[in-house]
């Protein structure tokens, strides 16, 4: 009945395999290619005779890979949650205005600090990094709190969506004003932050990041029943016994937290959160979020790793900004899905 390439029993192991291969490639490939055997030796702690390899792997590629894995997972899940909650195929983690809140927070630190105290945060090294992360989290959670408050007071899924988008515009315009009055160097730093990167962290911090992204991503599995019902519309969901307000609050809280964390550590990563849910629905022909969330985890991580790999293709000396690559991967996915859906519905 169901074609072999659409069966869960085939597709989930298949995507897991692809994820594994992409992880290995991310570790092995780059401006210096390291054989897989060497990679395995170094990562498992056996050590290697080649100190350069060890340095490259442990200082650069391993944290980058772990961060890409965690960020991709978190964004994929957050995007799926938003698309289901708002019943809109173009929704993504950014629709709530949370990443805009982050940008605003970071904008204040990077752009205003230079003006007021006469120095650039980027010269502060590790403390500068921490300041940016703190500012980003501050901005994101401020917006999240506002959205949750509005969702609780007003209700109505559509109004939450509209207010989220409006908050995004407002933050962008404030950032625009800040940029206009800032020093060139600060603006440059801000732009670089906005292009996103998986390589801002040491190995230790990468592990911490993985913890705080992967755990809430998997916790989203407990929202799967609510999400299944929300997909039917508010009235059907409530008739089937769902407490709509509470479910909506939890879904926004989960997606918002994931987005806030990823944006704080990697900058605003675009398109992964919008494209991955479509891939997840393509892989399993199901509306059950128990499976869709698993798919979004696996495919989100795989997509982020693929983008990371493409950003530093062998033979290239420097890296491309990650957001340029994600757009090139993500946009065709979204376009093809919308195209296909158009044919299906009419």
């Amino acid at each position: 009945m169901i074609p072999i390439f659409q069966r869960k029993s085939v597709l989930i192991p298949l995507s897991l395999g692809i994820l594994l291969i992409l992880t290995a490639l991310n570790l092995a490939m780059g401006s210096v290619n390291i054989p897989i055997a060497g990679v395995v030796d170094i990562v498992t702690g056996k050590g290697s005779s080649n100190v350069i390899w060890e340095n490259i792997l442990l200082r650069t590629r391993l944290p980058q890979t772990i961060v890409a894995l965690g960020a991709g997972m978190a964004l994929g899940v957050a995007g799926l949650l938003m698309q289901t909650l708002f019943r809109n195929p173009l929704a993504g983690p950014s629709v709530l205005g949370i990443s805009s809140g982050s940008s605003l927070g970071v904008g204040f630190v990077l752009l205003v600090a230079g003006q007021v105290w006469g120095f650039s945060f980027s010269r502060l090294g590790i403390w500068g990094d921490l300041a940016i992360i703190t500012a980003s989290l501050g901005g994101a959670f401020a917006v999240l709190a506002l959205i949750l408050f509005i969702s609780h007071k007003i209700g109505g899924t559509l109004s939450v969506l509209i207010i989220g988008v409006m908050i995004g515009y407002l933050s962008n315009s404030v950032v625009g004003v800040l940029k206009f009055y800032s020093m060139e160097e600060d603006v440059h730093n801000y732009v670089i932050w906005g292009l996103g990167s998986f390589s801002r962290m040491s190995v230790d911090r990468a592990y911490l990041f993985a913890m705080i992204t992967i755990v809430p991503s998997l916790l989203a599995l407990f929202l799967s029943k609510s999400l299944n019902l929300m997909a039917l519309g508010d009235r059907y969901a409530s008739n089937l016994g769902l407490k709509i307000k509470r479910a909506r609050l939890l879904i926004i809280l989960c997606a918002g937290t994931l987005t806030a964390i990823v944006t704080a550590f990697c900058g605003p990563i675009i398109f992964i959160g919008m494209a991955v849910p479509h891939l997840a629905k393509l892989v399993s022909r199901t509306s059950n979020h128990l499976y869709l969330i698993c798919n979004a985890c696996i495919l989100g991580a795989a997509t982020a790793l693929l983008c990371n790999l493409l950003a530093r293709l062998p033979g290239m000396e420097s890296e491309l900004p990650i957001n340029s690559v994600t757009a090139f991967i993500g946009a065709p996915v979204v376009i093809s899905v919308i195209w296909k859906k158009r044919k299906e519905n009419f």
């Binding site: 407990f222 009235r235 709509i244 509306s287």
Partner: protein, 347 residues
């Protein structure tokens, strides 16, 4: 068996401070199919939504199983009332089996997984609604009628004593309407569930429902079995519109055409009825021909060309097509028209 499942007492419905309809009282006995009828804008949907607990009532009581609907929480209510809405929801990727499975949500655990008993109930619901053969089809690939059956199966799987459907036949063609109504009739008969549906299909409602609720503009609600309501001439009062007449005998509406002229005719039978219909649409009424009507129409059902036009007692044209003949009659209308007011309408 025939206890009353739902009571509505002195209910006022509406939005905010605006009352759409008030002074509503009715009952739903167990195992009955009930149709809610009323013109657009009388508050049918508002009444349905109020009973489902989707919106607060402005006064009065709705009791299901002796508990007030608006006192029950979502979980408790989900085991009393299942709904089928008019909203066209698009659920990405959902197939029929999954949709019907979501009907079990009030009974499943945190992750919403179905156990063996749930799966049997889901299969039985799909079977009863005649949609089992499509269980793996995507909802988006179904016809409107099949979609409706899938949503009815979902409501069945919810296993509630009352199912409420908001215009379930609205987007369907005639055969599908009849099929859905018969399906609901069958569910009420075999499962003992009560079904309340709103509809505009008065003829089907009269034939298939146990009880009708007629919602007047602003209230009250007139309720009773179709036959009792016919006996009380309830429909004529309900649908007082220009140009429409309710025929008590057939339970159908007849369109009253405005007649501008009268033409004499001789004859009877099926062909005659057809000619009368066609001419009535054009504003021409047929009256019985007097012997002295030299200009007249004649219908002779045994002739090869049954429709004849007589001028001065001479047959000037015969036709076998009603359309052609009607056009001919209209062209010669000034010649044929009879003025007298005392003419007998021919039956």
């Amino acid at each position: 068996m025939n206890k009353n499942l739902l009571h509505i007492r002195n209910l006022s419905i509406g939005y905010g401070s605006k009352i759409v309809a008030g002074n509503l009282s009715a009952i739903i006995p167990s195992g009955e199919l009930i149709c809610l009828l009323g013109s657009n804008g009388t508050g049918k949907s508002t009444l349905m939504r109020s009973i489902c607990g989707f919106q607060p009532v402005l006064g009065g009581l709705i009791l299901i199983d002796n508990q007030e609907v608006h006192q029950l929480n979502e979980k408790e209510l989900s085991k009393q009332i299942a709904v089928v809405l008019t909203d066209r929801v698009v659920v990405p990727n959902a197939n029929v089996q999954e949709l019907v499975g979501y009907g079990r949500s009030p009974y499943t655990g945190m992750l919403g997984r179905l156990n063996a008993a749930d799966k049997i109930i889901v299969a039985r619901a799909m079977e009863q609604c005649g949609i089992a053969h499509k269980k793996d089809s995507l909802l988006t690939s179904l016809s409107d009628g099949e979609r409706q059956k899938a949503f009815i199966a979902k409501a069945l799987a919810q296993d509630t004593p009352l199912i409420i459907l908001d215009e379930p036949t609205a987007f369907l063609d005639l055969p599908a309407r009849v099929e859905i109504m018969q399906l609901l009739r069958d569910i009420a008969n075999t499962s003992g569930k009560s079904i309340l549906m709103s509809t505009h299909d008065l003829d089907l409602a009269l034939q298939l429902s146990d009880r009708l609720w007629l919602l007047q503009n602003g209230g009250p609600l007139i309720t009773g079995s179709p036959e009792d309501l016919l006996l009380k001439n309830a429909f004529q009062k309900m649908f007082q519109h220009k140009g429409v007449v309710f025929d008590n005998k057939t339970g159908l509406f007849k369109v009253m055409h405005t007649q501008h002229s009268q033409v004499a005719v001789k004859g009877h039978g099926f062909e005659y009825v057809l000619l009368r219909r066609a001419l009535s649409r054009k504003g021409v009424r047929l009256v019985k021909a007097n012997p002295d009507d030299s200009n007249r129409l004649e219908v002779n059902k045994d002739a090869p060309k049954p429709f004849s036009l007589y001028v001065d007692d001479q047959c000037i044209q015969s036709e076998d097509s009603v359309e052609v003949f009607v056009n001919r009659v209209l062209a010669a209308k000034s010649l044929l028209e009879v003025q007298s007011e005392s003419r007998v309408l021919s039956e």
